[in-house]
Symmetry: D2
């Protein structure tokens, strides 16, 4: 059964890739590619709106799409708890579903989720993220989120801090500390977005690594969302909930 898809933000960098990806998928049909100023009415008849716009546009798009009976998949940023609550109200009223995700890279999401699953079995864990040198924040939001998930899993398992006998440290050598987890940020020409979680116990280490080479990495996760949103009731925040890892 074909899923009919409208894309908002279709002329942006992610949006234009999404349009191409929908067109290339045999089980999806592109019914509208909306740019700034285009009316949502063109999305009528679609099953799913993909919103890849900006925080200033996304809420109107989501509300309008739900009102027109579409499900929504959005990768737009800026979803505060208040915004999510508002979307939940609209979705409930419309009887439609929404996926809100800031990261559609399946590998990137898996590294976080699998690291959290593995964390309780290892004394030590650290996070190393490596990005292009144009990135303005360090560590990456993903690395911070990873550290938080891992820290929560360790706490739940009753693990204390990772062992560390450091007495003499050049400032910064041991990285940033997020919820007790050491996080290191490398900035490297040639790289795009990479993350490694290293976990260690006696005589053994486990390394989980994602290498994201370019924006095409987000398409499989986006299309997975498009294909599944009709079967996932309510508002879901985070692609991981569609991956059925448990």
């Amino acid at each position: 059964m074909t899923v009919r898809v409208a894309v908002a933000g279709a002329r942006g960098r992610m949006g234009s890739q999404a349009v191409a990806a929908v067109e290339a998928a045999a089980d999806l049909e592109l019914v509208a590619a909306l740019g700034r100023g285009d009316s949502l009415d063109a999305a009528a008849g679609a099953d799913v709106l993909v919103d890849l716009t900006v925080p200033g546009s996304v809420m109107a798009n989501v509300e309008g799409a739900l009102a027109r009976g579409l499900h929504v998949v959005t990768g737009t940023t800026g979803f505060t708890p208040e915004r999510v609550a508002q979307v939940e109200g609209w979705a409930a009223a419309a009887g439609r579903n929404v996926l809100i995700a800031t990261n559609f890279g399946i590998g990137a999401v898996l590294v976080m989720q699998l690291a959290a699953k593995a964390a309780r079995f290892f004394e030590s864990v650290e996070v190393v993220e490596l990005h292009h040198p144009g990135k303005v924040d360090a560590p990456s939001g993903s690395a911070i989120r990873t550290a938080q998930l891992v820290a929560a899993a360790r706490a739940e398992a009753g693990l204390g801090p990772s062992p560390d006998a450091t007495e003499t440290e050049l400032p910064g050598a041991r990285g940033a500390v997020v919820d007790g987890i050491h996080v290191h940020a490398v900035r490297m020409r040639g790289m795009t977005a990479h993350q490694e979680v290293i976990l260690g116990g006696p005589g053994e280490t486990l390394t989980l690594r994602d290498d994201t080479y370019d924006r095409s990495a987000y398409m499989p996760g986006l299309l997975l969302g498009v294909r599944q949103v009709a079967q996932r009731p309510g508002v879901t925040v985070g692609l991981e909930h569609y991956l059925d890892l448990d």
Copy 2:
């Protein structure tokens, strides 16, 4: 509550480490360290028998321990389906539990299990294992098992073969093929036992890697088995079932 432990095969390489590990654990108490020829009667009063012996001894030990009311954790090899069935009969009769595992390395087991979980999301997957040069089989049993698990997960998800346009190949360049999965075996002085599963989709790869540096790597998994066997009814084959990954 302290778990009382007897170790059979206590003078072997794994066994002597197990003895030390049990002694070092605050919540475990070593009640007997049995070598070849020692009577199982010395294990009386223990809660768990750890059997790290040889295929020729293990069945008598398991039967004897169950008959004496102990649970059993064994890393001894040679458990054919027939042997497992026999153990199931003894365990049921005794109302005691058994864990049979050929690999107590938690990281090694996690690489397999997490790779199987991730496999359905990626077009491509290959396995690279790296071992010390004294290893007589290639690829390793773990790599074969990993390929089988990954292949089964791909089949269940309806994925076809990984893409591969190779037309000209030096014999062996693309590795061994196990259930359709390419597996490469590196033999390297300095290494012990390492395995990497690489999964790839458009613009992204996910790498899961275990590095086992020495035999101490098996102790956390062995002790996890010892601590949990009383709560895991029946006969369990494979440490993964104790890791609660789902």
Copy 3:
């Protein structure tokens, strides 16, 4: 001092990148961007011709450029020993220099050269190359060349074969064997061109790895050639000779 550059094959994939790279470099000046059928006369006044064409065009371009007093840097394939000899004759007659290189990736070239330097210190060495799944040959030409260089360095140092106790092998598990060196080829969606040389001795391994993410990787090496060709007498085959590693 500015180097004036003409690019032949300027509308090809490598050529168009080369044009952009020359234009972006403060110390280089683009004087001509030649496509198929354009006359070399447009290159008059340039110091260096960059030829990124095809085997059927390159010889005429090289001859013509040398005759016009230009040095030449070419990444075009198909330079047989006979062709190289012919170019040497032309270059000597013209008193100009030529760099012929099939790989302008500095990292890729360094992995080969540094592996050869390191090879005599290690008992074991293997090569793993990883490429996109559209590649038709396995292993890559670079991996074969790497194995040959490493094998030659080992032979010169009097080293025998790498230790390997394999008795039971699934066909292909231990890779292809090139001059006694095991070479493994991984094909993976998401990857472009990657190569790893692993060397091992007692208690230690050394890994040299190049990751080439896209064609822009060839520009620094190409520009290095352009900048240096005037100072490198005669015909040079291989970028490594311009890297002054010894």
Copy 4:
């Protein structure tokens, strides 16, 4: 021709391994294994003294060995410039040679030296070292030395700082900065001593990595020193000078 070897510090951890390594080498002959309090006279007749003692003993051993006509290879720490100058005087007077090295791991030394060779070709470079959690200093001395060598090579090539657009940083995320090079220190149960230098340019990264798994890693470098010291005039500081990389 057999080299006759005496080992001082023969009952220490490194020393006992050195004794075993000398005994296992067909071209070396152990003539004395000296512990604390043993007289150097027992080393008479040896060609080379291997000193693996402590800063308080090494100077007397070196002086005594040189006076008795032996060459010296020492891995003992604490060689200040003043001590080296003193050894140079003794060696010149005796007409014998000395190798002073704080790191006999060939792979570890190669990572430093090869990184320095590669550094001038890449815009970006960072160092990641990973050690067991019992290590008291961060980053490791080797990582600091590596950063210094890389920084010197970059300065000589006229390279400015690695690009880095970081505006918002959690303290420590970008590591320690040694001579302008970012250095990250991971502490991980299961690991021993590992170092990775990552270099990056447009579209490409080069990674050089040493994994030291145990103390046996130092034996090949130590024996290389023993075999060559007679042919290397004067006092040499650093194993790299025996590796003939240039």
